[in-house]
Symmetry: D2
Subunit: 231 residues, 4 copies
Amino acid sequence: MSTLPRAIVVGVGPGLGWALCRAFARSGHRVTGAARRADEVARLAAAEPDLHVEATACDATDPQSVAALFDGDSPPSVVLFNAGDFVRGAVLDLDPAAVERAWKVSVLGALHVAQAAGRRMVAAGTGTMIFTGATASLRGSANFAGLAISKFGMRALAQSLAREVGPKGVHVCHVVVDGMILSERTKGWVKPGPDTALEPDAIADTYLAIARQHRSAWTQELDLRPWVENF
Amino acid sequence: MSTLPRAIVVGVGPGLGWALCRAFARSGHRVTGAARRADEVARLAAAEPDLHVEATACDATDPQSVAALFDGDSPPSVVLFNAGDFVRGAVLDLDPAAVERAWKVSVLGALHVAQAAGRRMVAAGTGTMIFTGATASLRGSANFAGLAISKFGMRALAQSLAREVGPKGVHVCHVVVDGMILSERTKGWVKPGPDTALEPDAIADTYLAIARQHRSAWTQELDLRPWVENF
Amino acid sequence: MSTLPRAIVVGVGPGLGWALCRAFARSGHRVTGAARRADEVARLAAAEPDLHVEATACDATDPQSVAALFDGDSPPSVVLFNAGDFVRGAVLDLDPAAVERAWKVSVLGALHVAQAAGRRMVAAGTGTMIFTGATASLRGSANFAGLAISKFGMRALAQSLAREVGPKGVHVCHVVVDGMILSERTKGWVKPGPDTALEPDAIADTYLAIARQHRSAWTQELDLRPWVENF
Amino acid sequence: MSTLPRAIVVGVGPGLGWALCRAFARSGHRVTGAARRADEVARLAAAEPDLHVEATACDATDPQSVAALFDGDSPPSVVLFNAGDFVRGAVLDLDPAAVERAWKVSVLGALHVAQAAGRRMVAAGTGTMIFTGATASLRGSANFAGLAISKFGMRALAQSLAREVGPKGVHVCHVVVDGMILSERTKGWVKPGPDTALEPDAIADTYLAIARQHRSAWTQELDLRPWVENF
């Protein structure tokens, strides 16, 4: 078994999730990329075989599935929680069942992962957990209650967790991604001009910098946005 | 049928919930007090019969139950959402099922009420909804993730709703109750001295003031705490 | 000498300042309205002689002038700080001397008033101070650094003061006026429609409600904005 | 003349200021370290001659002095504003003149530096400015109004500046240093145990990471604190 530090990315699609896998693999981590369906991760991993990213199926809303992701191995050095669903619409038009499903992925899923990762990291006295937030983590805008309910909740979890496990050596950071992440799906909507949407690889560079922070100077929260963004 | 404006209080126990019923009844509202069990509200109402508060059973997590609370009557002028459960403990010790149950009351329940009330108020072009928050609405402290996940989520909902229905004439306010509310249960824990815990009647006075604000100068959020509180 | 409680309003023009004088006079206060030039206040007072508002000149940036406003009388029950200058422009275009002048009115002036009022109120063990903030109290927007530097600073002062004098019986509140106040000067710029800018009398109603709060449930900060405002 | 990118650090003492000089010198910058008295910087520079840090006298409150720091050279790539005075005490005990002097260093000084740096960076279409904040940037605690007035003001400036010059290619970041920085002066006060106060070199690593961020994913604000800090 490799002696490289292990990184687990929960919520891997072709955008930020895969960029995080790539960045941590290149910086000397043995990376496991988890998603509800492993085949998508496997396809991405197969396209960059030199990274040796392991693709795994995990449903974050299922505690057994999360436990399986973390069991039978050394404690992870880095866990990146990047899962989430997006329910859009005015409050009066929202389907409560859809809001609940999204919340289960973003918050209950984050809780399951925080517990599985946190127990192992606290026992080891070290480790880094980073949660991916959004504009809606800080502000309930019109038509964004569905997302904001989940993202506010994830931020609450990250804050409490940071205060609890920090003094036990575990670094918890919440990243507010305040803008559109560039992807095949979003590239038609971004402002004209260079670098006007968040590059997944650029976001991943900051996650790496956070994971490398000395414990005397840890960041609990930061924002990321493109230079041209109105905010 | 009375022509007094109608106020509905969701989540009525002997503390703040009943104080809200009393304050709005005294200021000229026909008040319905709802709780999961109507008998407790009925007992409170029977002790102050001059207030004519109607006691009703309502499970906020059940959309049918919420619909029944709002159906068959004139649109409410005021709806006060005061329901919530409290799950305490460190993140690594939390029971995810308990977190989910508490979230369903505080956030899914608030969503059901917001939808039922909001549709009627938007149709009427007027109305006030006030949501009861807490210290944990703004900050995920150690051992308070269970509460903060719910309270952050309710605040997100209130913000989105305020932005959506405000321009349609409906006032949405979120009140951060930052301290312990005086009650039979809490009176043994409060600091010595006069007025060191939040008096339910004093809180209710501010809810009344909010409900009376002119639409040119509405408050979306405010805090309330005792004069002696460290904050 | 009247035995009515005394209210002092610092920064009285024909808009919010005068509305505060009017509201507190009508609710049973003996009101002193102060401005750099007393003649403007005197003109307003002469137009509503039944209010018996006393007009006084006070330069809040001058500690002697502030001391004179507070000396030789019973301690004020209510002090409302409403003075401020507005410097607009991009950071790279700002005149530092103008920023400094505005800061001296809004922050150094607020400090002088807080000290004069606070010493008397702490000695009396009671009193209320309310500071008028703005959108720029919470956010440094483009072209608003000149205002935000002052308003952020005033908010910092109000927060520290609240924490220090609260447990001595003195209530300190900071009001975020988040929108345009209706006036002769602004009425051409507001959105079409009814009540689309903040009515000074409506704002004053909320200041009155704050001054009346029971000490077990004080508000430290709240926002006010018109129903139609995007925020 | 060297073709290395230029970094200017304003406010250099033996703690964070010098650590920033060192970090940016080691990462390939030609560094100018400025302080009110150049001799202290010169002494630090003489002790690490391989860094080639240039020591310069600059009084940030004097626009001519700031202009001289920036004139006659290529536009700086990085400007780090680290100057500030600390006035402690309850509001009722503060010397307004001391508050004003501290404000002139932290805010008027930051404005002079922002203007001198910003004009050159906007013309170049690139550059990074980082402002050093503190716990008191976000919260006016008891006995900290003197510091909070300055630090809130600096944060306001940084926010407005970020929004104005970001779309012109200039990155503005505000760092909330939330804890005690380790130094000769503070080492007697920190909690027992390893890494319990912020190491200046660890803080500087994060400043470097910010300066290296790709413009598609810039951070406007982040916090830094030791792992053991209660917050």
